[in-house]
């Protein structure tokens, strides 16, 4: 199973920086793993713990929240709030028996296309090492069969 495992990662990207960085990475023809599916958010401060938990509950192998560099938030402190919320979700996942490394916060500037590509690679490798989300329907079915 692990040989063919292609992680499914959801990235909540701030429109002012990380989303632009993802766009720039594409424009620069930088290659990065296609495992990361981007969700545009107006600010990472909009990302609620429930968004992340439900994403994991619904079977995503990993979730990253990508905001502006610290001090550069368009809304002043949305990315600081997001960082705290990511840490909160990590604590909850730990309590619930899921690896907290499946959720991670990144800070990427709008001009940093290579930074986004690197973050996507790093997250994909982390999740590949962890293996599939034990909550994905596919994994649960295979566990039952075993």
């Amino acid at each position: 199973m692990s040989e063919n495992f292609e992680p499914r990662i959801v990235a909540f990207c701030c429109q002012y920086c990380s989303y632009a960085a993802a766009d720039l990475a594409g424009s620069m023809r930088l290659s990065y793993p296609p495992n990361v599916k981007v969700v545009l958010v107006p600010c990472t401060g909009r990302v609620d713990p429930l968004h992340i938990l439900r994403t994991i509950e619904d079977g995503a192998d990993g979730v990253c929240v990508a905001g502006c560099l610290e001090g550069d938030c368009h809304f002043l402190e949305g990315n600081f709030k997001a960082r705290k919320r990511v840490a909160y979700v990590q604590r909850i996942l730990n309590e619930a028996g899921v690896e907290d490394a499946r959720v991670r916060m990144f800070n990427i500037a709008a001009s940093d296309g290579p930074g986004f590509a690197e973050a996507a690679r790093m997250m994909t490798e982390t999740i590949r090492a962890l293996g599939p989300n034990p909550l994905s329907t596919k994994t649960e079915k295979m566990t039952e069969e075993l």
């Binding site: 609620d48 429930l50 938990l53 909850i92 619930a96 028996g97 034990p134 909550l135 649960e140 566990t143």
Partner: protein, 224 residues
């Protein structure tokens, strides 16, 4: 308001052992304000419990509902239909401990369990930080202390001045806590009423706190 906080997931999972269909009930009163049991916290907790149970290989169905208040019987009756229709075997209440008790008294066929630990009657110190301000002794005398309560806010509950552990206006029990007797003295000094603190007072009558069984308040003029 009543300040509460969520119990650890592990403890909640132990309570839920043997139950596969559960209603998680939040409250839009105090526990919403202190972010322990409102609509959002109920959503997060339900998700966390579902995740944990799936990890254990014993999935659980958890529905969510948040009542306007759980400390009023008329709001508790809103649970009658879902309990009758959906066949829940347990109700988990994310309210102060009044909520689960009302639910337990109303519905005798379902297990009832608390999702929160009720901590104290308190106020907000800063965003998302709460502290205890009142111990509900039932006989308020804070006018004798410049409007500040030494029973609750002195770590030792001293009523006749500070202990020797007051240092630089802070308490020896926990340095981040203000010595309330320091604040009381400063305030009485500013009010020009330090002499009032020197007056001998009889021992506090605690009968309004402990004795006589369950305490009760009745407004005869408003009863139906």
């Amino acid at each position: 308001m009543i300040i509460a906080e969520r119990k650890p997931i592990k403890e909640l999972l132990e309570m839920l052992a043997g139950h596969d269909k559960v209603l998680l009930v939040g409250c839009k009163g105090c526990v919403t304000v202190c972010n322990a049991g409102g609509v959002k916290e109920v959503g997060v907790l339900a998700s966390a419990l579902r995740i944990a149970r799936r990890r254990q290989g014993r999935p659980i169905e958890i529905d969510e509902m948040t009542l306007d208040r759980q400390c009023e019987p008329e709001f508790i009756s809103w649970l009658e239909e879902p309990i009758r229709e959906k066949g829940y075997t347990a109700i988990m209440s994310a309210a102060c401990s009044v909520g689960p008790q009302y639910i337990a008294e109303r519905f005798d066929k379902v297990a009832v369990m608390p999702a929160l630990n009720t901590k104290f009657i308190g106020g907000t110190l800063e965003h998302e930080v709460w502290a205890e301000f009142c111990r509900a002794c039932g006989n308020c005398g804070i006018h004798n202390f410049g409007g500040l309560c030494p029973i609750t806010r002195c770590s030792k509950g001293l009523l006749h001045g500070p202990c020797a552990g007051s240092s630089g206006g802070k308490c020896e029990v926990r340095p981040e806590v203000d010595c309330i007797w320091h604040l009381i003295y400063t305030r009485m000094k500013n009010l020009g009423q330090v002499e009032k603190l020197k007056a001998l007072k009889p021992a506090k009558d605690w009968s309004s706190y402990w004795s006589g069984g369950v305490r009760r308040v009745v407004r005869e003029d408003l009863t139906l």
